[in-house]
């Protein structure tokens, strides 16, 4: 169970970062750390002790492979993560140019 806990701890570290950091880029980094932990979580779930790489070798049939489905899911999720990160980064550039600051507490035009 320990890897699962470590994995969730990673998630929480990211969460902590999102909450406490004031720098926009730091927030983005924290988010990507959370993403990483989620991917790890999926991969951990698919692991089977003694399982082989999920790539069939025609020479040796009838093997036990690790669960390929979570891997497929993570594959999709990773791409989504990249997409989110890049969009976030684009917004960050623009925000910096407009506000001349990275401080999240000064970026509060919209309130109330």
């Amino acid at each position: 169970m320990i890897p699962y806990w470590m994995c969730f701890a990673l998630f929480l570290v990211g969460l902590y970062g999102v909450i406490t950091r004031r720098n926009l880029v730091k927030i983005a980094i924290s988010l990507s750390i959370m993403e990483v932990s989620t991917f790890l979580f999926f991969a951990l779930m698919g692991y089977i002790e003694g399982g082989k790489f999920p790539i069939v070798d025609p020479a040796e049939p009838g093997q036990l492979y690790v669960d390929p489905l979570p891997q497929a899911l993570v594959l999709t999720a990773i791409v989504i993560g990249l997409a989110t990160t890049s969009l976030l980064m684009a917004v960050i550039i623009r925000i910096y140019r407009k506000y001349k600051t990275f401080d999240i507490r000064e970026i509060r035009n919209l309130r109330g």
Partner: protein, 144 residues
């Protein structure tokens, strides 16, 4: 001097082709080895990015590249969609039908349409990633 030092430039000249080739390898062997459209696509984009990094923006016409890449990207995705729709029109009325013969497991030409998907997703990813990079690179703020 534009770009990085001569050393980097010359190495890039050699390596860029190899990297691209390697990316293509990963893409085409997606159904046999790890990787596939996405990973290979990014590696192929890496070749372009490497060139841009080493030679600087002046070497390429960035605007034109971006436009071309956008077109490529969208056309590639369209082809993916069309591929997925072919099954729908080929009588079976099944979306995402693997309509080609499956072949022998482990051969290069096998797995029906999967390599085709890989290839076009690879092209799409290549151009997407390159556009991402270019968009971030050539971005300049208007004077406000």
């Amino acid at each position: 001097m534009k770009g990085m030092t001569t050393i980097v430039k010359k190495t890039t000249q050699i390596l860029a082709g190899i990297i691209f080739l390697y990316g293509a390898y990963v893409v085409i062997h997606g159904h046999l080895t790890p990787g596939g459209g996405f990973a290979g696509g990014v590696i192929m984009a890496g070749a372009f990015i490497l060139v841009t990094l080493a030679f600087g923006g002046g070497f390429l016409n960035l605007k034109k590249e971006e436009t071309g890449s956008t077109a490529t990207e969208n056309i590639a995705v369209l082809i993916v969609i069309i591929l997925s729709l072919v099954g729908l029109f080929l009588g079976a009325k099944v979306f995402f039908l693997n309509f080609l013969p499956r072949g022998t497991v482990g051969e290069l030409v096998s797995a029906g349409v999967l390599p085709l998907y890989n290839i076009f997703v690879g092209i799409e990813v290549t151009s997407s990633i390159f556009i991402l990079f270019l968009a971030l690179v050539i971005f300049k703020e208007e004077d406000t």
